[in-house]
Symmetry: C2
Subunit: 361 residues, 2 copies
């Protein structure tokens, strides 16, 4: 299986990735059961999480770095990453967040101006509304940062060959090389002497970003002759499926619900989602539903229901056929609406802080 | 004929380049006869010099941009570029000088620290001693500059394909792509709104740099959808030949005399240079010498004798056999020694200003 971090594709078999050096996250399930995504297996794999575990357990400093690709609405798929960021921040991580505006310009044709607005109004505002502490966060745009950062991206070009890039990214173009080296600098520059210095670094990402992580780890080890750095660690999460199956993607509005979506519209979108229901009510009562392929169920599971017992109950009700899709959707839509109304109040308050954070570097 | 800007090679037939879009500089010889290199044909070609001519004649603003590759001693081959820079500055150019330390790191394995020292102690100090006005000069290191500059280099990656890069540079590596895009940003960023805005730009370079100029002109025209820019103009000079024939190159100490060279050592180097002398004194008296292939003659012609009548006299004496190489070398060495002693006094005074300029950005 080949992963292309710049294609929107489905990963159907996450277990496969264990063959490529990603380790199962299962070993850390118990220790970090306070994290819903770890506990329920959405964060399924990692590279080098042991270092982060040690840092957290011994209360030693570590870095959390992640990037956002400002190319559309901030939706429930993105919320996963936001929740992970906030969780690591609360575990003591020194928080670094990149707006990958050069990448979205080169790979998705989003203008730098649009990217800037999307990063602030969609991403940062939601991050803060969800609980990110902006005062403890370093934020930058790839297009507007410090010379040390650009220097690292440029110097890193010496540590990777054309053939290695091709092996990782397939067809190579100048803009892919620039984007990849920017990502390398995004992840590694917090370890430069002018920033935090050498420290374990965790990068929470979707499984499709593993090629970038591998490249960055290789380059970090080769940069050893100039900069002593810890190889960055990563956690990998599954993607949240979209409302009609497939990936939830900001380029397909029918696939997602945005966190800024009008609650009534969101309700409607959810009501028309693809469920795991049977052909007829009679059949469903007899055989039960299929929660594992149900987009509505995913909303409970990923976001709306944190209590595992409640979750089990919901699952049981569906499987046994004791609740049908119509009623289940109504219940989910109620929870969703309530969440959005409350969240959007917080967004209103977070706006100014988001702007300030964007101008802080 | 293919030009590789990253190989130290000899260009033996400059006229050939006129087939590749470089125009002869002859048309401007009379107008700019105050410039020795133009007058004597060392600056033999140009692209788009008409724009610069118009700006100079009408006293309108224009930009002069050039780069230095900090990878060794500043020698008499480099002095040509310095003289050109100073000449354009005195003609009113807004002066921009890049220290291409990222390029020297990626293409010549010079550490950034060494590059920094070489740029200041060798290049800037000599530029100022030769007459550059540091107060009217913008100077930067590729590794340490403003975000707008890096943004331009990154955005430019979208405007060039892999195949175009390969056609220009041959085998493509990530570090060649980074180096090429940095050069593009070096040349074009002075035209950004935060700098001078759109203005004619002259780039005085050696003939081997034409591939960079072509690429930069192509990218400038394609960037039109975001930034309105004048296509940069360029003048091209011949290389000064080395003391033993071939190119004068900082990687071969026997080929050059540095401007910081101890005058006695310089004298010795010149005394053992390859001349256009004949096998025997008798033969030379009878047939005359060959000044056109004589390294000593090149020192008079490029640097030590500005007066054309005196130059003609020297040429005649050699051709007629009325002076032999020993005496001619002594005379040249006297002039060289005098120049170096005086120049090195100026260097002593220029040091502080060079440091200041390097820290000014």
């Amino acid at each position: 299986m080949e992963l292309d971090p710049w294609q929107i594709g489905d990963i159907t078999d996450y277990e496969q990735l264990f063959k490529f050096g990603i380790s199962p996250m299962a070993a850390f399930k118990e220790m970090y059961s306070d994290n819903r995504y770890v506990r329920r297996g959405m964060i399924f794999g990692h590279r080098g999480f042991e270092k982060i575990d040690t840092a957290i357990q011994s209360k030693r400093p570590f870095i959390m770095m992640t990037g956002l690709m400002p190319s559309g609405k901030f939706h429930f798929g993105h919320k996963m990453v936001a929740d992970e960021i906030i969780w690591f921040q609360r575990k003591g991580a020194r928080t670094y967040i990149a707006a990958a505006d050069i990448e979205s310009y080169l790979m998705r044709a989003v203008s730098l101006k649009d990217a800037r607005n999307i990063a602030i109004e969609e991403y940062l505002t939601n991050y803060i509304a969800l609980g990110l502490d902006p005062k403890k966060t370093t934020f930058w745009f790839q297009s507007d940062y410090k010379p040390e950062y650009y220097r690292l991206a440029d110097v890193a070009a010496n540590e990777v060959t054309f053939n290695e890039m091709r092996a990782i990214y397939g067809d190579i173009t100048p803009n892919k090389i620039i984007s990849a080296l920017k990502q390398v600098a995004d992840i590694l520059h917090p370890q430069l002497p002018d920033f935090e210095g050498r420290l374990p670094t965790i990068v929470p990402v979707g499984a499709d970003q593993d090629p970038h992580i591998r490249l960055t780890r290789d380059i970090a080890s080769r940069l050893n002759h100039i900069y002593k750095m810890e190889l960055p660690s990563a956690t990998f999460h599954r993607f949240m499926e979209g409302l009609r199956g497939g990936k939830m993607s900001s380029s397909n509005p029918k696939s997602y619900i945005a966190l800024s979506e009008d609650p009534k519209t969101a309700r409607k979108k959810l009501m028309s989602a693809t469920t795991g229901g049977r052909e007829t009510a009679e059949e469903q009562k007899r055989m039960g539903g299929l929660p594992d392929v149900c987009a509505v169920y995913k909303f409970y599971y990923y976001h709306l229901v944190d209590d595992d017992k409640e979750m089990q109950k919901l699952y049981g009700e569906c499987k046994s056929g004791s609740i049908l899709c119509g009623a289940c959707k109504q219940r989910c839509a109620d929870m969703l609406e309530k969440f959005l109304v409350e969240h959007q109040k917080k967004m209103g308050k977070a706006k100014e802080a988001a702007k300030k954070l964007a101008e802080s570097r």
